[in-house]
Protein backbone atom coordinates (compact mmCIF):
# COMPACT_ATOMS: atom_id res chain seq x y z
CA UNK A 1 0.00 0.00 0.00
CA UNK A 2 2.77 2.35 0.83
CA UNK A 3 4.52 1.59 -2.44
CA UNK A 4 1.38 2.28 -4.44
CA UNK A 5 0.80 5.66 -2.90
CA UNK A 6 4.29 6.60 -3.92
CA UNK A 7 4.12 5.40 -7.50
CA UNK A 8 0.71 6.88 -8.39
CA UNK A 9 1.73 10.53 -8.04
CA UNK A 10 4.90 9.72 -9.90
CA UNK A 11 2.91 8.43 -12.88
CA UNK A 12 0.61 11.45 -12.81
CA UNK A 13 3.59 13.77 -12.85
CA UNK A 14 5.39 11.85 -15.57
CA UNK A 15 2.43 11.44 -17.95
CA UNK A 16 2.29 14.98 -19.41
CA UNK A 17 6.01 14.85 -20.20
CA UNK A 18 5.76 11.60 -22.14
CA UNK A 19 2.61 12.53 -24.14
CA UNK A 20 2.84 15.98 -25.69
CA UNK A 21 -0.60 17.33 -26.52
CA UNK A 22 -1.91 19.24 -29.49
CA UNK A 23 -5.33 20.76 -28.89
CA UNK A 24 -7.20 22.37 -31.75
CA UNK A 25 -10.29 24.55 -31.62
CA UNK A 26 -11.98 25.29 -34.92
CA UNK A 27 -14.67 27.93 -34.93
CA UNK A 28 -17.33 27.37 -37.55
CA UNK A 29 -19.04 30.74 -37.96
CA UNK A 30 -22.78 31.29 -37.80
CA UNK A 31 -23.76 32.54 -41.25
CA UNK A 32 -26.87 34.42 -42.15
CA UNK A 33 -27.52 32.94 -45.61
CA UNK A 34 -30.65 31.76 -47.41
CA UNK A 35 -29.34 28.24 -48.01
CA UNK A 36 -26.98 26.90 -45.37
CA UNK A 37 -25.13 23.60 -45.37
CA UNK A 38 -22.58 22.68 -42.77
CA UNK A 39 -19.09 23.00 -44.26
CA UNK A 40 -16.90 20.11 -45.28
CA UNK A 41 -13.82 20.59 -43.14
CA UNK A 42 -10.36 19.07 -43.08
CA UNK A 43 -7.70 19.50 -40.38
CA UNK A 44 -4.17 18.32 -40.97
CA UNK A 45 -0.51 18.93 -40.09
CA UNK A 46 1.84 19.87 -42.92
CA UNK A 47 5.62 19.65 -43.02
CA UNK A 48 7.66 22.53 -44.42
CA UNK A 49 7.70 20.85 -47.85
CA UNK A 50 3.87 20.71 -47.80
CA UNK A 51 3.69 16.94 -47.39
CA UNK A 52 1.18 15.71 -44.84
CA UNK A 53 2.61 14.76 -41.43
CA UNK A 54 -0.78 13.83 -39.93
CA UNK A 55 -4.40 13.77 -41.03
CA UNK A 56 -6.31 14.94 -37.97
CA UNK A 57 -9.94 15.30 -39.06
CA UNK A 58 -12.23 15.39 -42.09
CA UNK A 59 -15.92 16.11 -41.78
CA UNK A 60 -18.27 15.44 -44.67
CA UNK A 61 -21.91 14.54 -45.31
CA UNK A 62 -22.56 10.97 -44.18
CA UNK A 63 -26.03 10.39 -45.66
CA UNK A 64 -25.97 7.27 -47.82
CA UNK A 65 -26.43 7.72 -51.56
CA UNK A 66 -25.70 5.92 -54.79
CA UNK A 67 -22.78 8.26 -55.35
CA UNK A 68 -21.14 7.25 -52.07
CA UNK A 69 -22.67 9.83 -49.73
CA UNK A 70 -20.56 12.94 -49.32
CA UNK A 71 -17.36 11.37 -50.66
CA UNK A 72 -18.33 12.68 -54.13
CA UNK A 73 -17.63 16.23 -52.97
CA UNK A 74 -14.41 15.67 -51.03
CA UNK A 75 -12.25 17.15 -53.86
CA UNK A 76 -13.97 20.49 -53.06
CA UNK A 77 -11.56 20.64 -50.13
CA UNK A 78 -9.10 21.40 -52.89
CA UNK A 79 -5.89 21.90 -51.03
CA UNK A 80 -6.51 19.00 -48.67
CA UNK A 81 -7.43 16.82 -51.64
CA UNK A 82 -4.22 17.39 -53.54
CA UNK A 83 -1.98 17.43 -50.48
CA UNK A 84 -3.11 13.92 -49.46
CA UNK A 85 -6.87 13.65 -49.04
CA UNK A 86 -7.08 11.75 -52.32
CA UNK A 87 -4.70 9.10 -50.96
CA UNK A 88 -7.12 8.15 -48.18
CA UNK A 89 -9.81 5.53 -48.36
CA UNK A 90 -12.90 6.88 -46.59
CA UNK A 91 -13.96 6.42 -43.85
CA UNK A 92 -10.77 6.73 -41.78
CA UNK A 93 -11.12 5.52 -38.22
CA UNK A 94 -10.65 8.34 -35.73
CA UNK A 95 -10.29 10.94 -38.50
CA UNK A 96 -13.42 11.12 -40.65
CA UNK A 97 -16.84 11.99 -39.34
CA UNK A 98 -20.02 13.94 -39.92
CA UNK A 99 -20.08 17.66 -40.65
CA UNK A 100 -20.25 19.83 -37.53
CA UNK A 101 -22.60 22.70 -36.69
CA UNK A 102 -21.64 26.34 -36.18
CA UNK A 103 -19.73 26.92 -32.97
CA UNK A 104 -16.40 25.95 -31.42
CA UNK A 105 -15.28 22.45 -32.27
CA UNK A 106 -12.63 21.10 -29.93
CA UNK A 107 -10.19 18.38 -30.90
CA UNK A 108 -7.46 16.79 -28.80
CA UNK A 109 -4.48 14.85 -30.04
CA UNK A 110 -1.63 13.15 -28.24
CA UNK A 111 1.87 12.45 -29.42
CA UNK A 112 2.29 8.82 -30.33
CA UNK A 113 -1.45 8.17 -30.44
CA UNK A 114 -3.38 7.96 -33.72
CA UNK A 115 -4.08 10.04 -35.69
CA UNK A 116 -1.19 12.26 -34.55
CA UNK A 117 1.29 9.36 -34.21
CA UNK A 118 4.96 10.27 -33.71
CA UNK A 119 5.57 13.78 -34.96
CA UNK A 120 9.31 14.24 -35.49
CA UNK A 121 10.77 17.43 -33.98
CA UNK A 122 10.60 20.26 -36.49
CA UNK A 123 8.58 23.09 -38.04
CA UNK A 124 5.00 22.42 -39.06
CA UNK A 125 1.77 24.13 -39.99
CA UNK A 126 -1.65 23.22 -38.71
CA UNK A 127 -3.98 23.61 -41.70
CA UNK A 128 -7.76 23.91 -41.52
CA UNK A 129 -9.74 24.04 -44.76
CA UNK A 130 -13.51 24.48 -45.01
CA UNK A 131 -15.71 24.34 -48.13
CA UNK A 132 -19.45 24.86 -48.01
CA UNK A 133 -22.06 23.77 -50.55
CA UNK A 134 -23.36 26.89 -52.38
CA UNK A 135 -20.92 28.84 -50.23
CA UNK A 136 -17.24 29.64 -50.14
CA UNK A 137 -13.97 28.00 -49.26
CA UNK A 138 -11.24 29.10 -46.87
CA UNK A 139 -7.89 27.84 -45.63
CA UNK A 140 -6.34 28.93 -42.31
CA UNK A 141 -2.77 28.04 -41.39
CA UNK A 142 -1.13 28.15 -37.97
CA UNK A 143 2.66 27.61 -37.99
CA UNK A 144 4.20 25.87 -34.98
CA UNK A 145 7.38 24.16 -33.80
CA UNK A 146 7.19 20.66 -32.40
CA UNK A 147 7.62 19.72 -29.65
CA UNK A 148 6.76 22.88 -27.75
CA UNK A 149 9.33 23.82 -25.08
CA UNK A 150 6.58 25.29 -22.93
CA UNK A 151 2.79 25.55 -23.11
CA UNK A 152 1.82 27.69 -26.08
CA UNK A 153 -1.40 29.26 -27.30
CA UNK A 154 -1.24 29.90 -31.03
CA UNK A 155 -4.03 31.12 -33.26
CA UNK A 156 -5.08 31.86 -36.82
CA UNK A 157 -8.13 33.73 -38.00
CA UNK A 158 -10.50 33.00 -40.87
CA UNK A 159 -12.65 35.71 -42.39
CA UNK A 160 -15.48 33.95 -44.23
CA UNK A 161 -15.93 30.20 -43.87
CA UNK A 162 -13.84 29.85 -40.72
CA UNK A 163 -13.59 31.86 -37.52
CA UNK A 164 -10.76 31.58 -35.04
CA UNK A 165 -8.50 28.55 -35.25
CA UNK A 166 -6.72 27.98 -31.94
CA UNK A 167 -3.80 25.68 -31.42
CA UNK A 168 -2.75 24.90 -27.86
CA UNK A 169 0.47 23.00 -27.46
CA UNK A 170 1.41 21.24 -24.27
CA UNK A 171 5.03 20.11 -23.91
Amino acid sequence: MRRLSLTLPAILLAAPVAAADLNVTVQIPQLNVAEYHRPYTAVWVEREDHTVAAQLAVWYAQKESKEGAGTKWLPELRQWWRRGGRDLQMPVDGVSGATRPAGEQKLSFHQGKAPLTELAPGKYELVVEAAREVGGREVVRVPFTWPAASAQQLAGQGSTELGAVKLDLAP
Partner: protein, 270 residues
Amino acid sequence: MTKHSVKWGAIALALALPFAAQAHKMWLVPSATNVSGADPWVTVDAAVSNDLFYPDHMPVQLDRVTITQPDGQTAKAENALTGQYRSTFDVHLTEAGTYKIAAVNGGLFASYEADGQKKRWRGEAADMAKAIPANAKNVEFSESINRVETFVTNGKPSDGALKPSGKGLELMPITRVTDLASGEAATFQLLLDGKPAANLKVMAIAGETRYRNAQEEIDVTTDKDGKFSITWPHAGMYWVNASTQDNKSSIKQAKVRRLSYAATLEVLPQ
Protein backbone atom coordinates in the same frame (compact mmCIF):
# COMPACT_ATOMS: atom_id res chain seq x y z
CA MET B 1 -20.15 16.90 -100.78
CA THR B 2 -22.32 17.86 -97.85
CA LYS B 3 -22.17 21.24 -96.19
CA HIS B 4 -20.64 19.59 -93.17
CA SER B 5 -17.73 18.00 -94.94
CA VAL B 6 -16.94 21.28 -96.68
CA LYS B 7 -16.78 22.94 -93.27
CA TRP B 8 -14.66 20.10 -91.95
CA GLY B 9 -12.23 20.41 -94.79
CA ALA B 10 -11.96 24.14 -94.17
CA ILE B 11 -11.28 23.79 -90.47
CA ALA B 12 -8.81 21.01 -91.00
CA LEU B 13 -6.96 23.20 -93.47
CA ALA B 14 -7.06 26.12 -91.08
CA LEU B 15 -5.60 23.96 -88.33
CA ALA B 16 -2.91 22.69 -90.64
CA LEU B 17 -1.70 26.09 -91.78
CA PRO B 18 1.69 27.12 -90.41
CA PHE B 19 0.34 30.14 -88.51
CA ALA B 20 -1.58 28.02 -86.05
CA ALA B 21 -2.06 30.93 -83.66
CA GLN B 22 -4.51 32.46 -86.09
CA ALA B 23 -6.47 29.26 -86.57
CA HIS B 24 -9.47 28.16 -84.64
CA LYS B 25 -8.78 26.28 -81.46
CA MET B 26 -9.92 22.73 -80.88
CA TRP B 27 -10.63 21.77 -77.29
CA LEU B 28 -12.08 19.26 -74.87
CA VAL B 29 -13.41 20.61 -71.57
CA PRO B 30 -14.42 18.20 -68.80
CA SER B 31 -16.99 19.20 -66.18
CA ALA B 32 -14.51 18.26 -63.46
CA THR B 33 -10.84 17.25 -63.42
CA ASN B 34 -10.78 15.67 -59.94
CA VAL B 35 -13.59 13.36 -58.92
CA SER B 36 -14.36 11.05 -56.04
CA GLY B 37 -17.18 8.94 -54.64
CA ALA B 38 -18.75 5.58 -55.41
CA ASP B 39 -19.95 6.28 -58.95
CA PRO B 40 -18.14 9.23 -60.52
CA TRP B 41 -18.96 10.61 -63.98
CA VAL B 42 -17.86 13.67 -65.91
CA THR B 43 -19.40 15.23 -68.98
CA VAL B 44 -17.11 16.61 -71.70
CA ASP B 45 -17.67 19.36 -74.28
CA ALA B 46 -15.69 19.00 -77.51
CA ALA B 47 -15.62 21.87 -79.98
CA VAL B 48 -13.62 24.11 -82.29
CA SER B 49 -13.84 27.87 -81.72
CA ASN B 50 -11.85 31.09 -81.50
CA ASP B 51 -13.01 32.05 -78.01
CA LEU B 52 -12.05 29.73 -75.15
CA PHE B 53 -14.12 27.84 -74.15
CA TYR B 54 -17.31 28.84 -75.97
CA PRO B 55 -18.66 26.52 -78.62
CA ASP B 56 -19.63 28.85 -81.46
CA HIS B 57 -18.16 27.35 -84.60
CA MET B 58 -17.89 23.57 -85.06
CA PRO B 59 -18.23 20.37 -83.07
CA VAL B 60 -15.37 17.86 -82.73
CA GLN B 61 -16.20 14.64 -84.57
CA LEU B 62 -16.91 11.96 -82.00
CA ASP B 63 -15.16 9.21 -83.97
CA ARG B 64 -11.89 11.08 -83.29
CA VAL B 65 -12.30 10.77 -79.52
CA THR B 66 -10.40 8.15 -77.52
CA ILE B 67 -10.75 7.72 -73.75
CA THR B 68 -7.83 5.91 -72.12
CA GLN B 69 -8.45 4.38 -68.69
CA PRO B 70 -5.82 4.24 -65.91
CA ASP B 71 -5.07 0.63 -66.92
CA GLY B 72 -4.36 1.71 -70.51
CA GLN B 73 -7.54 0.17 -71.91
CA THR B 74 -10.03 2.21 -73.91
CA ALA B 75 -13.30 3.32 -72.32
CA LYS B 76 -16.51 4.08 -74.18
CA ALA B 77 -17.84 7.64 -74.54
CA GLU B 78 -21.34 7.45 -73.03
CA ASN B 79 -24.40 9.51 -74.00
CA ALA B 80 -22.53 10.95 -76.98
CA LEU B 81 -24.18 13.62 -79.07
CA THR B 82 -23.02 15.99 -81.79
CA GLY B 83 -24.83 19.30 -81.97
CA GLN B 84 -24.40 22.28 -84.24
CA TYR B 85 -21.53 23.81 -82.27
CA ARG B 86 -20.24 21.10 -79.99
CA SER B 87 -20.14 17.40 -79.28
CA THR B 88 -20.77 16.22 -75.76
CA PHE B 89 -20.18 12.87 -74.13
CA ASP B 90 -19.95 11.42 -70.66
CA VAL B 91 -17.10 9.45 -69.15
CA HIS B 92 -17.96 6.90 -66.47
CA LEU B 93 -14.86 6.65 -64.27
CA THR B 94 -15.17 3.07 -63.12
CA GLU B 95 -11.46 2.84 -62.23
CA ALA B 96 -9.38 4.83 -59.77
CA GLY B 97 -6.62 6.90 -61.32
CA THR B 98 -6.02 9.32 -64.19
CA TYR B 99 -7.98 9.08 -67.46
CA LYS B 100 -6.73 10.66 -70.69
CA ILE B 101 -9.36 11.95 -73.11
CA ALA B 102 -7.99 12.70 -76.58
CA ALA B 103 -9.22 13.78 -80.00
CA VAL B 104 -6.75 13.08 -82.77
CA ASN B 105 -7.31 14.61 -86.17
CA GLY B 106 -5.07 13.94 -89.07
CA GLY B 107 -4.90 13.18 -92.68
CA LEU B 108 -3.44 13.97 -96.01
CA PHE B 109 -3.82 17.31 -97.71
CA ALA B 110 -3.26 18.12 -101.36
CA SER B 111 -3.21 21.38 -103.24
CA TYR B 112 -3.13 21.36 -107.03
CA GLU B 113 -4.17 23.17 -110.17
CA ALA B 114 -6.68 21.67 -112.55
CA ASP B 115 -8.57 23.31 -115.42
CA GLY B 116 -6.88 26.62 -114.59
CA GLN B 117 -8.15 26.62 -111.00
CA LYS B 118 -6.42 26.15 -107.66
CA LYS B 119 -7.95 23.25 -105.74
CA ARG B 120 -7.55 21.57 -102.39
CA TRP B 121 -8.27 18.09 -101.19
CA ARG B 122 -8.23 16.40 -97.78
CA GLY B 123 -8.60 12.72 -97.09
CA GLU B 124 -6.96 9.42 -96.41
CA ALA B 125 -3.87 8.27 -98.27
CA ALA B 126 -5.79 5.32 -99.74
CA ASP B 127 -8.26 7.60 -101.53
CA MET B 128 -5.59 9.89 -102.92
CA ALA B 129 -5.23 8.31 -106.38
CA LYS B 130 -8.87 8.56 -107.33
CA ALA B 131 -9.45 11.96 -105.69
CA ILE B 132 -6.79 13.91 -107.59
CA PRO B 133 -7.65 14.27 -111.30
CA ALA B 134 -5.16 12.97 -113.86
CA ASN B 135 -4.66 16.43 -115.39
CA ALA B 136 -3.74 18.01 -112.04
CA LYS B 137 -0.59 20.15 -112.06
CA ASN B 138 1.68 21.38 -109.25
CA VAL B 139 0.33 18.78 -106.87
CA GLU B 140 1.68 19.22 -103.35
CA PHE B 141 0.91 16.88 -100.50
CA SER B 142 1.18 17.43 -96.77
CA GLU B 143 0.29 15.31 -93.79
CA SER B 144 -1.11 16.57 -90.51
CA ILE B 145 -1.42 15.13 -87.01
CA ASN B 146 -3.36 17.27 -84.54
CA ARG B 147 -3.85 15.99 -81.02
CA VAL B 148 -6.11 17.57 -78.41
CA GLU B 149 -6.29 16.20 -74.88
CA THR B 150 -7.59 16.65 -71.38
CA PHE B 151 -7.27 14.66 -68.15
CA VAL B 152 -9.67 13.58 -65.42
CA THR B 153 -8.58 11.86 -62.21
CA ASN B 154 -10.70 9.66 -59.97
CA GLY B 155 -9.10 9.69 -56.51
CA LYS B 156 -5.35 9.16 -56.47
CA PRO B 157 -3.59 10.13 -59.73
CA SER B 158 -1.83 7.47 -61.85
CA ASP B 159 0.43 7.35 -64.92
CA GLY B 160 -0.91 4.33 -66.83
CA ALA B 161 -2.99 6.37 -69.28
CA LEU B 162 -0.26 8.93 -69.90
CA LYS B 163 2.03 6.70 -71.98
CA PRO B 164 2.76 8.51 -75.23
CA SER B 165 1.71 6.89 -78.51
CA GLY B 166 5.02 7.93 -80.07
CA LYS B 167 3.25 9.62 -82.99
CA GLY B 168 3.26 13.37 -83.47
CA LEU B 169 3.42 15.98 -80.70
CA GLU B 170 2.50 14.80 -77.21
CA LEU B 171 2.68 16.12 -73.67
CA MET B 172 4.19 14.32 -70.69
CA PRO B 173 3.26 15.96 -67.38
CA ILE B 174 6.17 16.21 -64.92
CA THR B 175 4.08 18.18 -62.43
CA ARG B 176 0.91 16.14 -62.04
CA VAL B 177 -2.02 17.54 -64.01
CA THR B 178 -4.10 17.27 -60.82
CA ASP B 179 -1.69 19.51 -58.92
CA LEU B 180 -1.76 22.75 -60.90
CA ALA B 181 -2.38 25.78 -58.69
CA SER B 182 -2.35 29.55 -59.22
CA GLY B 183 0.99 31.18 -58.53
CA GLU B 184 2.87 27.87 -58.75
CA ALA B 185 5.11 26.71 -61.58
CA ALA B 186 4.28 23.47 -63.38
CA THR B 187 6.72 21.55 -65.57
CA PHE B 188 5.93 19.43 -68.62
CA GLN B 189 7.82 17.70 -71.37
CA LEU B 190 6.87 17.98 -75.00
CA LEU B 191 7.56 14.95 -77.18
CA LEU B 192 7.76 14.63 -80.95
CA ASP B 193 7.35 11.02 -82.09
CA GLY B 194 8.12 9.99 -78.52
CA LYS B 195 11.40 11.94 -78.32
CA PRO B 196 12.02 15.27 -76.54
CA ALA B 197 10.88 18.20 -78.73
CA ALA B 198 13.55 20.85 -78.09
CA ASN B 199 13.28 24.57 -78.74
CA LEU B 200 9.58 24.66 -79.58
CA LYS B 201 7.26 27.52 -78.69
CA VAL B 202 4.45 26.63 -76.28
CA MET B 203 1.54 28.96 -75.66
CA ALA B 204 -0.99 28.92 -72.84
CA ILE B 205 -4.23 30.90 -72.81
CA ALA B 206 -6.75 30.94 -69.97
CA GLY B 207 -10.41 30.39 -70.77
CA GLU B 208 -13.17 33.01 -70.50
CA THR B 209 -11.50 35.08 -73.22
CA ARG B 210 -14.91 36.63 -73.87
CA TYR B 211 -14.67 38.58 -70.63
CA ARG B 212 -11.35 40.29 -71.20
CA ASN B 213 -9.92 42.46 -73.94
CA ALA B 214 -6.67 40.62 -74.61
CA GLN B 215 -5.69 37.00 -75.15
CA GLU B 216 -3.09 37.29 -72.35
CA GLU B 217 -1.00 34.58 -73.95
CA ILE B 218 1.77 33.01 -71.90
CA ASP B 219 4.67 32.11 -74.21
CA VAL B 220 7.44 29.73 -73.24
CA THR B 221 10.00 27.68 -75.18
CA THR B 222 10.98 24.08 -74.56
CA ASP B 223 14.58 23.44 -73.48
CA LYS B 224 16.97 20.86 -74.97
CA ASP B 225 15.09 18.09 -73.16
CA GLY B 226 11.73 19.27 -74.48
CA LYS B 227 10.83 20.57 -71.01
CA PHE B 228 9.02 23.79 -70.22
CA SER B 229 7.52 25.46 -67.15
CA ILE B 230 4.49 27.67 -66.80
CA THR B 231 3.65 29.71 -63.71
CA TRP B 232 -0.13 30.07 -63.70
CA PRO B 233 -1.15 33.69 -63.03
CA HIS B 234 -4.62 32.72 -61.78
CA ALA B 235 -6.99 29.79 -61.45
CA GLY B 236 -9.02 28.61 -64.43
CA MET B 237 -9.11 26.27 -67.40
CA TYR B 238 -6.05 26.80 -69.64
CA TRP B 239 -5.50 25.81 -73.25
CA VAL B 240 -1.85 24.84 -73.74
CA ASN B 241 -0.76 24.56 -77.34
CA ALA B 242 2.31 23.84 -79.44
CA SER B 243 2.78 23.30 -83.16
CA THR B 244 5.58 22.58 -85.56
CA GLN B 245 6.30 21.06 -88.94
CA ASP B 246 8.93 18.76 -90.40
CA ASN B 247 9.54 16.52 -93.40
CA LYS B 248 9.18 13.19 -91.63
CA SER B 249 5.80 12.20 -93.01
CA SER B 250 4.96 8.51 -93.10
CA ILE B 251 3.25 9.14 -96.43
CA LYS B 252 5.91 9.24 -99.13
CA GLN B 253 4.19 11.82 -101.37
CA ALA B 254 3.92 14.30 -98.50
CA LYS B 255 6.91 16.60 -98.30
CA VAL B 256 5.65 18.40 -95.23
CA ARG B 257 4.23 17.07 -92.00
CA ARG B 258 2.33 19.55 -89.80
CA LEU B 259 1.90 18.74 -86.14
CA SER B 260 -0.01 20.33 -83.33
CA TYR B 261 -0.88 19.52 -79.75
CA ALA B 262 -3.29 21.17 -77.31
CA ALA B 263 -4.30 20.24 -73.78
CA THR B 264 -7.00 21.69 -71.57
CA LEU B 265 -5.66 21.87 -68.01
CA GLU B 266 -7.38 23.04 -64.87
CA VAL B 267 -5.52 25.35 -62.48
CA LEU B 268 -7.03 25.58 -59.00
CA PRO B 269 -6.99 28.49 -56.57
CA GLN B 270 -4.69 28.28 -53.54
